[in-house]
Symmetry: C2
Subunit: 191 residues, 2 copies
Amino acid sequence: MTPERTEKLLNVLRRRQPDLSLIADQVNKPRNLSALVRNCDAVGIHSIHTVVPKEGYRTYRGTAKGSDYYVKSRAHESVENAISVVRQQGMKVVAAHFSDKAIDYREFDFTQPCALLMGAEKQGVSDVAAQMSDAHVVIPMMGMVSSLNVSTAAGIILVEAQHQRLKAGMYDQVRLSDQEISRTLFEWGNR
Amino acid sequence: MTPERTEKLLNVLRRRQPDLSLIADQVNKPRNLSALVRNCDAVGIHSIHTVVPKEGYRTYRGTAKGSDYYVKSRAHESVENAISVVRQQGMKVVAAHFSDKAIDYREFDFTQPCALLMGAEKQGVSDVAAQMSDAHVVIPMMGMVSSLNVSTAAGIILVEAQHQRLKAGMYDQVRLSDQEISRTLFEWGNR
Ligand SMILES: C[S@@+](CC[C@H](N)C(=O)[O-])C[C@H]1O[C@@H](n2cnc3c(N)ncnc32)[C@H](O)[C@@H]1O
Ligand SMILES: C[S@@+](CC[C@H](N)C(=O)[O-])C[C@H]1O[C@@H](n2cnc3c(N)ncnc32)[C@H](O)[C@@H]1O
């Protein structure tokens, strides 16, 4: 690896936010999943969780511009399992979901450790996930359509999280452990 | 048309923002174009402009969830033409484009009449469009990838425009003329 490449990778790792994550609740189009991963990379998310759709994934056609490689992803059989793993890591679960208790996404405090849970293209957030979540957030809609594309919605909410964390100086501190930085640098470098 | 349907359509028309628009500068994947339209509908944009890619459009596979129908779209041969049309309507042109003069997208005043110009998947914003634009805005990027998907980027910026216009009470005023409301209601009703 050239020194320039090492420096570039290190700069990204020094901004990674281990206490910000995403759960994809049976999102089933690979194109949407890879767009989600691209958004996660862009805001400095280090690892995400996917819940495998009951009917499996559709055939992959798209591309995440290589960002798949830079965000760790763990697949779960059930959303209960995904939620309990992020909870064990000290994160709140905030679902992007229309409901009576939903608040505007800008009102949620994304500087706290949290995982954003996104629903499937057709079914939306599953009932059990909605119930288990600590909060529900929505992006106000002014037009005829009742929802946004799942990766667009995630992008909007994650950039708000990024904005709050930028203001709080959280990208200026190194948030990953030295050990995790070395390990990931080794992995990425041997791509 | 049932009274409920009329009421629903009228409620959307009463929130439409005739002085907020979008120019797609040779965006060539129909799936991205239709996701752009869906985002425009969602924030109350009434009409948009597309610049036809030199090499034509790729075959259409996706869906805009019917939102295509609710946003007027005008195709142009050149971006100069698209820009001069929105200028004649009194709008500023703000390009989503990385450059020396680019500012954070949250710093732009989207309550003024303006059209957001989005670049193509590979080429980005064309040189001539970048030069003709009144301002450039960017969404800060913290990861390995250097850009977001075009419709995700548009969604993020348009929701900021919506937020500013909500705060300014611009969705509480009827912004379309009575004539335009009647005409569009007739069109939509006869779908
Ligand atoms: C296409 S939407 C699912 C629509 C589904 N028919 C429903 O009623 O939930 C896919 C996912 O994107 C997210 N989403 C889309 N639009 C949203 C909005 N305006 N606010 C919050 N989340 C949204 C939610 O997580 C949703 O489950
Ligand atoms: C996939 S990007 C194009 C990337 C292209 N290689 C370039 O260098 O411009 C497509 C369009 O999305 C918009 N876009 C993507 N990421 C953006 C960001 N972080 N800030 C502002 N606009 C962005 C721009 O309009 C861009 O032209």
